[in-house]
């Protein structure tokens, strides 16, 4: 497993231009929202001294007065965010198609990446959609009973520590479920990219392989997720805790985002190596 992880990381790093492309695509989507935020703020408080104060740092009174006077001040932003997410996820599926097939076939040209992305877009979209439904089902099954009965549980449970432990236990089960779904999702796509059979057979194969290797796959998922989460925390901490200049803070955050992109690519490449969809040259 460790061999696959190390190999996965080195493959992901060798595909670094792809990480840059993903970063730029994300940046473009971020810019859509960011420019809307900027123009909305400029429009409603741009000519006020309160706006000057707000531009130097978050001020609750300015923010609340702005929302009171202009309840729709951020409506455009709120409308854009779901669209941006959906659009990015679609592009993301395209990128996965290119990435997975390119890594498997060790094709490094831009044209083959695009071709692979287009070829696998629809099947990967269907696979992604299937897992999205499973993901929503898992979320509902695990969390809905707790949320619906929260008041009853709180008032009858002897201690809130137990209540939080209950939440932790559900959280761990949820993560284990997520691990299964995410690994199966990636493995199904790898399978499809390798064997090129039906989506259903790839889903079956993806699940079968994931269940067979559930423990190591969960370790891989947990490790990469944790790493990505730690990078996110460090990024937030640096952004809010050090009082850096806004541009310096922005650039630092971009570096963290590139690392997070590489972490995800490494996760994919690790799974590919682990299921022997890619074979090291020395292993021939």
């Amino acid at each position: 497993m460790m061999k696959s992880v190390l190999r996965g990381i080195s493959i992901a790093v060798s595909f670094w231009p792809l990480a840059i492309i993903i970063l730029l695509i994300q940046l473009a989507f971020g810019l859509v929202v960011g420019s809307q935020v900027g123009s909305s703020l400029s429009e409603v408080i741009g000519f006020s001294k309160a706006g000057e104060l707000f531009s130097q740092g978050f001020d609750y009174a300015v923010y609340q007065d702005m929302l009171k006077a202009f309840p729709d001040a951020l409506a455009d932003v709120q409308r854009s965010i779901p669209i941006v997410i959906i659009a990015y996820l679609l592009i993301s599926i395209f990128l996965h198609g290119g990435l997975i097939r390119s890594i498997i076939t060790n094709q490094r040209s831009w044209s083959s990446f695009m071709k692979n992305g287009l070829t696998y877009f629809l099947p990967f979209l269907l696979i992604g959609f299937t897992f999205l439904i499973l993901f929503l089902l898992l979320t509902a099954i695990l969390w809905a009973p707790v949320l619906i009965n929260a008041l009853n549980i709180i008032e009858s449970i002897a201690s809130d520590r137990l209540f939080f432990y209950l939440l932790y236990v559900i959280g761990i089960i949820y993560l284990l479920g997520l691990s299964l779904l995410v690994s199966a999702s990636v493995n199904s796509r790898i399978n499809y990219a390798v064997v090129n059979e039906s989506i259903f057979s790839s889903l079956k194969a993806g699940f079968a392989w994931t269940l067979k290797k559930y423990l190591p796959l969960t370790c891989i998922f947990s490790g990469f997720s944790l790493l990505s989460f730690l990078l996110l925390c460090c990024s937030i901490k640096l952004d809010t805790g050090l009082g850096l200049n806004v541009w310096l803070s922005f650039l630092t955050t971009l570096v963290f985002i590139i690392f997070r992109i590489l972490v995800r690519s490494s996760f994919y490449a690790t799974l590919m190596h682990y299921c022997e969809a890619i074979v090291d040259e020395g292993d021939h």
Partner: protein
């Protein structure tokens, strides 16, 4: 701070009482030697708790002194636990049947509570039981929260009467505050037959002020001495108003005797889950009762209590009681929390409360601050809640900001932060409708956003007054108010007259009119103020007000040549100012003295536009992080 495991204390009990009093590092709760108040109603109670039945029963010897020159032939008592007897009480009719997310009509018979008098007699043996009856002073003939006790002979002015009352107080499963929860948690508040207040009304007529229990109205009681002995299972931790002066154990039961002096009420709780933390501030004994799971909060509660004691001492007056008990209810009984009783307050938190959120400290300080208002400046909260809740919120905000940061006293995480005053102001200015926001009204007349009016508008009004007259003057005025009226029942007019006298001694006639006008407009009216800069046209600017309330303010104008010009504006609008040079920016009230202004953002206008690169860049990276997190799942 010292931690005591209450369950291991048996062997140390005597030693703790005899030696500990003299040698411990913190002050002890010792009853005072002199009365601080005119004691009108004294209660001597002996109670036994049957925790299986959720019932305390016993005898109360109630001594009432007639404070009027008139002979009194009837007594009136609060029987407030009957608010939770059934759905017909005025308290529950004031709700839509749902309290804190629970439908009350669905509860089992044994989950309701009540207080009932089995017998009542005068000390000489004259039985009054047959004559007592529930009366409905505020309508609703099904309400049983006020009891009338006709007397066979009058109590003359200045004379006293001693009643012996056998009663039972059965707790409900908690609806709000009073009640029982899981694992033998019991909180006895508004629980015993308690006398109303015999006083002169605004027209000077003597009579009982004894309202029914309503959802939004709380205390009004006379000062007195409470001597209360509680017998309960000896595995329970007990917390109560006053000082513990004696305790004994016998056959698995413990009897604890508490003395609370110069208080208007008495509350107590029992629970096997509570741990005791003791400390002191100067000679004030502090007792914290915290469930095991909230140990992490003990230090934070203790610091908050000491901060509040110190702050009040520096800015209002010395805490006049020998001790204070703060009880944090277990999580399952959270609806028992967040309330004040004399020398006893309930807080509330959850396991693992993060340090960046100070809601628990803020609430603990709020409930503690009530000691200075509800308990000592014991106004009629039913008719004029603002004199308590409004001042308490104002001081809560001040204390929180003094110790936890002006802009971050409530929340400070990931660059998002807010302080208490901003939150109070927001609760007032963000009200959907300001057409009925007069503060000084009885609780039952205030419809809509009660908190926004009684708590937040008052606190924001007081903050505005403070910014106009300066904090030092505000403190001087409030210190004198506290000193003069402590242990009485001040009314709205009492405070307003006090303020007027203070202002007259310190300010010009026009300033007195302005400041008093502001306070009266807020107390009795709904006028709002929203100053705004309407326009800047080259070298002239027009200012206006969207509301009908006005206060004089400073105007700061900056010309294109960067000269700063200050002008005074009395608030009469619209107002046009013309300068020699072109104007680059105008700022009404740049020091934000007029904190009541509904929108502070439109108080200024400038000809150049601010860019929000900070938020643009943060939005970009936040979106990127979010997309990256989501795509990990895909």
């Amino acid at each position: 701070m010292m931690y005591i495991n209450i369950h291991l204390r048996y062997c140390f009990l005597l030693a703790a009482l005899v030696i500990g009093l003299a040698t411990s590092g913190y002050a002890q709760c010792l009853p005072l030697s002199t009365a601080q108040s005119e004691r009108i109603a004294d209660y001597q109670m002996e109670l036994s708790l049957d925790h299986d039945q959720k019932m305390a029963s016993g005898t109360a010897l109630i001594t009432w002194r007639n404070p009027s020159p008139k002979a009194v032939k009837e007594l009136k008592m609060y029987m407030y636990l009957n608010a939770f007897k059934n759905m017909k009480s005025t308290w529950l009719r004031g709700t839509d049947g749902e309290v804190f997310g629970r439908q009350m009509s669905e509860r089992a018979a044994e989950e309701w509570g009540y207080v009932t008098i089995d017998s009542i007699s005068i000390k000489d043996g004259t039985d009054l039981t047959g004559g007592i009856q529930y009366v409905q002073v505020d309508g609703n003939e099904d309400d049983e929260t006020v009891l009338s006790i006709p007397l066979p002979r009058s109590v003359r002015g200045g004379d006293s009467i001693v009643l012996s009352v056998d009663f039972r107080a059965k707790l409900p499963k908690t609806i709000a505050r009073s009640g029982y929860g899981e694992n033998n948690f019991h909180l006895f508040v508004h629980w015993y037959p308690k006398l109303g207040v015999y006083e002169q009304d605004k027209e000077g007529q003597w009579g009982w002020n004894c309202h029914q229990f309503m959802q939004r109205t709380e205390f009004y009681g006379d000062f007195g001495l409470y001597d209360v002995s509680i017998t309960c299972d000896d595995s329970f931790t007990v917390g109560a108003s006053g000082c513990l002066v004696a305790e004994s154990q016998s056959e698995g039961r413990q009897t604890l005797r508490y003395i609370a002096e110069d208080v208007i009420d008495f509350a107590w709780c029992v629970s096997p889950e509570l741990e005791v933390y003791e400390d002191s501030w100067q000679d004030i004994y502090i007792r914290l009762l915290v469930p095991r799971d909230h140990r992490g909060m003990a230090e934070r509660y203790m610091a908050a209590t000491k901060n509040a004691l110190q702050y009040f001492n520096d800015h209002l007056g010395k805490y006049p009681y020998p001790g204070i008990t703060i009880m944090d209810p277990p999580f399952h009984s959270l609806r028992n929390g967040f309330m004040e009783y004399p020398t006893f307050a309930t807080a509330g938190t959850v396991y693992g409360m993060p340090g960046w959120f100070k809601g628990s400290e803020s609430l603990a300080i709020h409930e503690f601050a009530h000691q200075f208002f509800m308990a000592v400046l014991a106004n009629n909260e039913k008719e004029e809640a603002w004199l308590d809740e409004g001042f308490v919120t104002y001081y809560e905000d001040r204390i929180m900001e003094a110790y936890y940061g002006v802009h971050s006293s409530q929340l400070d995480v990931f660059g998002i932060r807010y302080g208490n005053s901003a939150l109070s102001r927001k609760e007032y200015v963000s009200m959907r409708n300001h057409s009925s926001t007069a503060i000084a009204r009885p609780g039952w007349e205030i419809t809509g956003n009660y908190k926004g009016i009684v708590y937040s508008k008052t606190a924001t009004m007081l903050k505005t007054l403070e910014r106009y007259i300066s904090r030092n003057k505000m403190d001087e005025m409030m210190r004198a108010y506290f000193e003069q009226y402590k242990f009485t029942h001040p009314r709205t007019e009492t405070f307003v007259n006090h303020l007027k006298t203070y202002l007259q001694a310190n300010y010009s006639a026009s300033e007195v009119d302005t400041y008093l006008g502001l306070v009266n407009a807020c107390l009795h009216g709904s006028d709002t103020v929203d100053y705004y800069v309407e326009s800047i046209t080259e070298n002239s600017t027009t200012l206006n007000n969207k509301g009908a309330l006005r206060m004089p303010v400073e105007i700061e104008l900056i010309s294109i040549t960067n000269d700063t010009i200050r002008q005074h504006w009395d608030g009469s609008s619209p107002k046009t100012i013309t300068l020699k040079d072109e104007i680059s920016s105008v700022h009404i009230d740049p020091e934000q003295k007029l904190y009541l202004d509904l929108n502070l953002n439109n108080n200024s206008l400038k000809t150049t536009q601010t860019s929000f690169s900070r938020y643009i860049l943060k939005s970009i990276t936040s979106i990127q992080h979010a997309l990256q997190s989501l795509s990990f799942l895909l």
